[in-house]
Amino acid sequence: MTEKINENGKTKIRVEDFNLFYGKFQALQHITIEIPGNRITSIIGPSGCGKSTFIRSFNRMNELIPGVRTEGRILLDDKNIFDIDPVELRKQVGMVFQRPNPFPKTIFENIAFGPRAHGIRDRRILEEIVEKSLKQAVLWDEVKDNLNKSGLALSGGQQQRLCIARALAVEPEVILMDEPASALDPIATLKIEELIQQLKEKYTIVIVTHNMQQAARASDYTLFFNMAENRAGYLVESGKTTDIFTNPKNELTEQYISGRFG
């Protein structure tokens, strides 16, 4: 049973009966969903329901943890990601983390790092990529005169936009965001949300958020996860964000978005 949440757009990621285990513990169970391209899909749910684990499956980041095992398929443009080399996959599926994690390098080097790792050596091309990525991440005007300053010298919000620019620089198709604004102040959060809106023209965005206003404001589609009896995360309900927030079909969803648990 595949849940259709997208009426007209193209499906970018298709998850088919996906299960994930940390050793013996099942963290995700029987997840089947389609994620539309060029849209923002937010994932909400109480702590520990596997939201982060779920999006970290899309770029196979979970495999860094010893003892992780998966079942089922995740298709990116109809290709099973478990058949793609993880290095190649992560070039197509970028990620922004909860805490800004710029490298201890200059702003320029932070962004040039990805393209350079993929074999671009020409300084002029690298400069173009850096400028383009910073502009896309709405950070260019703030840092264009200080590209040789350390990325760590920026404010928290700027650091997070630097990390977004860094992810954009390798030209991914999908960008995963794991609570990208949870460590930021409200103004920096708002800037990130505006930025995400602009990015959906070119990218498919999947964002995990703890903040329901953020999901309601910033996303087109919403997936609601919850924890089952055995503490495994499962998908309760999915659909257009407006439908989920105004007219939830499931009682649990209604209770969660009205703040009765979670």
Partner: protein
Amino acid sequence: MIKNIELSRKKITAIDSAKQLRRRELSQKIAFALIWLAGLFAVAVLLLIIYYVVSNGFKVIDLEFLTTRPAGGVSGKGGISTTIVTTLYLVILTIAIAAPLGIGTAIYMVEYAVELSGKKGFLTALVNLIRTSVEILAGVPSIIFGLFGFAVFVSYMKLKFSLLSAGLSGACLVLPLIIRTTEEALLTVPQSYREGSLALGTTKWQTIFSVILPSALPGIITGIVLSVGRVIAETAVFWVTLGGSYRLPKNLLSSGRTMALHVYMLASETRAFDKALGTSAILILIIIGLNLAINITSRHFYKRFSGK
């Protein structure tokens, strides 16, 4: 739950807070004084040693002392020029052998062997064995490395008393130090750097080489500089592997004499105790210089990385 709100609001007067505070402040002052004394004592002893060696040593130090070679024999005549050069050669050789091996081992243990954790098998057992060996080796007295070097490199491999024998033995001596400091340095690199880099579609080696190693560099450099100090200061190992020739080593298989070894030989076999002190003074100055170098580099890196 506060059952009796009146009781909880009542001020407890049984404790004379002013008197209590005075007593606590007094005990704090006594503790501070003792800690200060201990610190002062340690610094005073150190300064006394440095003062004794340097002030006595400087009586014999002049340009001639630094630029002529030891004359040999029991008189202890001559300078220390060849011992300075031999020390430099040996330091370079030892680090050239030990640093790649040590850094490589540490990278393997921190970055690659984690994948094995939780699994049972040959490789896991091997990694645990390496870790235990390094810990044991770090505590082994240096003369034992010397005897090992003598048995293996000097006798068995027939390298004789030579720079090469000494360099290999010295590498065994500093290897645990380099492995441990590098391991510590790699462990302090935040996991978020690894994730951030891998998420960009870089290979593990690109991540290690371009993100992790540069971040760990200050720690690695500290380990190497400490090893340099260890080689400069070591006598026991080189006593039984380097020989004691006061001539300038011509090649890797030449015998030689480091400054520390020269100090030992002057003090034990000649009447030139003043020259032993002179050589020691220069050794001490080099060690102080090395420590300053560590401080300056780590501060430099801290500045560069923190962006301040």
